[in-house]
């Protein structure tokens, strides 16, 4: 009996002693006490050392966009680190171009704030705020696309530019350990400041889209943050082409409504690509802009119309339809919203047709 107790005592004592050493070491090495963080030449603030920059900024209510929630897989949370930050890590290099590395751009989720750090983030990110919203309406647009209307509380006015997006914080539901953030473009006009609308397509096994399609009910409360992005209409005399795939119509609905409300004059053609008729929505609303906006044309196109669809419009892949529609596209602007595959294909076709690469605008939600 005594032997057993000694043995247990020795092991427990040894374990406790080693644990103590590790706790002390962690205090001194990992959490290195407060460090000073300078954001865009503002006065330095004290933040706890050892945490990833993305969460340090989130604690301070600065929302750098991140679609993967800090796992280093989306590459959206790019910031410039002017001082500190340590060397570029192997987890970041796939997301950074050589020019960006030269320019000291890093992924905020991978950089740990260990020493005094100075960073530079786009000024508009400082205006991003977190909001609690209530689901006011859910509308089924197609069999797999929903329009969700989110209302801000009384006295809250949400200001954004047509074409920008917000991030939804998906609450923890079965199988999820931590909240994740997903980005969706706003489809309602910026003149509505008390509510926004999002168009969300169900992605098989998508965390947030499954939540929105299967669990979200009218009256539920959600947390969103935004607005983000510089996908807004350049008000130049150049002719513009809008290309939308699936739920990618959202930012264009917002931009068109904004153009109509403010009387913006610009020659614009909107191409909307879908598979068959059951994937189309909002057609009447979009055709109606033809009368309200001089110079606007709407071209829906189906890649594989069903025999029963009775489809008179354009058919073929959206890239082919656009290519057929124009001769040379030199001097034009292009705005794209859709899947990463569609965007890559469109960029290839558009540059072949003579659109300058810096005149092609898109938000790629990977």
């Amino acid at each position: 009996m005594g032997d057993v107790l000694t043995a247990v005592g020795v092991l427990v004592g040894l374990g406790a002693f080693l644990a103590l050493i590790l706790v002390v070491a962690e205090r001194r090495l990992v959490h290195s006490g407060p460090v000073r963080l300078t954001i865009n030449d503002a006065d330095p603030v004290e933040v706890p050392g050892g945490e990833p920059l993305l969460s340090v900024l989130r604690e301070r209510k600065i929302f750098v966009p991140s679609a993967c929630g800090g796992r280093g897989s989306c590459g959206l949370c790019k910031v410039r680190i002017l001082e500190g930050g340590g060397p570029v890590l192997p987890t970041e290099t796939p997301h950074l171009s050589p020019e960006e590395i030269e320019d000291r751009v890093r992924l905020a989720c991978q950089v740990k704030v260990r020493d005094d750090t100075a960073i530079e983030i786009p000024a508009h990110l400082l205006e991003v705020e977190e909001y609690e919203v209530r689901v006011e309406a859910i509308e089924e647009l197609t069999y797999d696309i929903r329009r969700v209307r989110l209302a801000f509380g009384p006295g809250v006015a949400f200001r954004f530019r047509a074409g920008q997006y917000v991030q939804i914080e998906t609450p923890i539901y079965d199988g999820l350990g931590e909240p994740v953030y997903r980005a969706y473009s706003i489809s309602s006009p910026p003149q509505d400041t008390d509510a926004i609308e999002l168009i969300i397509r169900k992605v098989p096994r998508g965390i947030c889209t499954t939540f929105v399609h299967e669990l979200l009910l009218v009256g539920d409360r959600l947390r969103i943050n935004g607005p983000y992005g510089d996908f807004y209409l350049r008000e130049t005399p150049a002719e513009a082409v809008f290309i939308a795939g699936g739920s990618g119509l959202a930012p264009f609905e917002s931009i068109l409504a904004d153009m109509a409300a403010r009387g913006v004059r610009k020659k614009v053609t909107l191409f909307f690509g879908a598979v068959s008729r059951r994937d189309l929505y909002d057609l009447e609303r979009l055709h109606a802009y033809g009368e309200r906006l001089p110079g606007f044309a709407f071209v829906p196109a189906l890649s594989h119309p069903d025999p029963g669809d009775d489809w008179q419009g354009e058919t073929g892949l959206i890239t082919d339809v656009v290519a057929r529609h124009y001769g040379s596209m030199e001097g034009m602007e292009a705005y794209l919203c859709g899947s990463p595959g569609m965007i890559d294909a469109c960029v290839r076709v558009l540059t072949d047709k003579g659109v300058a690469e810096d005149r092609i605008f898109y938000d790629k939600f990977a």
């Binding site: 032997d3 092991l11 040894l14 080693l18 340590g86 060397p87 890590l89």
Partner: protein, 195 residues
Amino acid sequence: MTNQGAFTIFIAAIFINNILLSNFLGMCPFIAVSREVRTAAGLGAAVAFVMTLTSGLNYLVYAYLLEPLGLEYLRYIAFIVVIAATVQLVEMVIERTSPVLYYALGIFLPLITVNCAILGVSLFMVIRQYSFVQSLAYGAGSGVGWALAILAMAGLRKKMKRSRVPAALEGPGITVILAGIMALAFIGFSGMVPM
């Protein structure tokens, strides 16, 4: 207690009784992390450091805690606990001082904990009844020997990128064959010092 000099034990552990090439301990990271010379050097250094440190610490735990209390049978679990804590410590130090090495080593850094070469060194040290200084020399020698072997392998694999390996043997297959040939070469050293 053997009365070989510490220096003899150190040299013997590197060349004659190389823990990797004569006992074939610690093969898993040896095969998996020997693709790049830089990472191999990093892991080799980390293993050598942990081995030296843990052989010293485990000697103290064994000689001053387990043996006096007659608890020698606890040595497996006690050694592993000490090794695990040491690896945690090394992990923190590396993450703090060289994040690039930390990410390059990836999962193999915490896996040093279960690198059997490290537990093997501590157990051999008990079996061979080394003194404290001899244990340190043995741990350091084995560590350097392990690092040397993985560096040599990484160098060979780098050269091998340009040689035509039969498709079925690419990757781990040819690496194990290479390890066998290296072990044969190291047999040439045996008998120089009686162990």
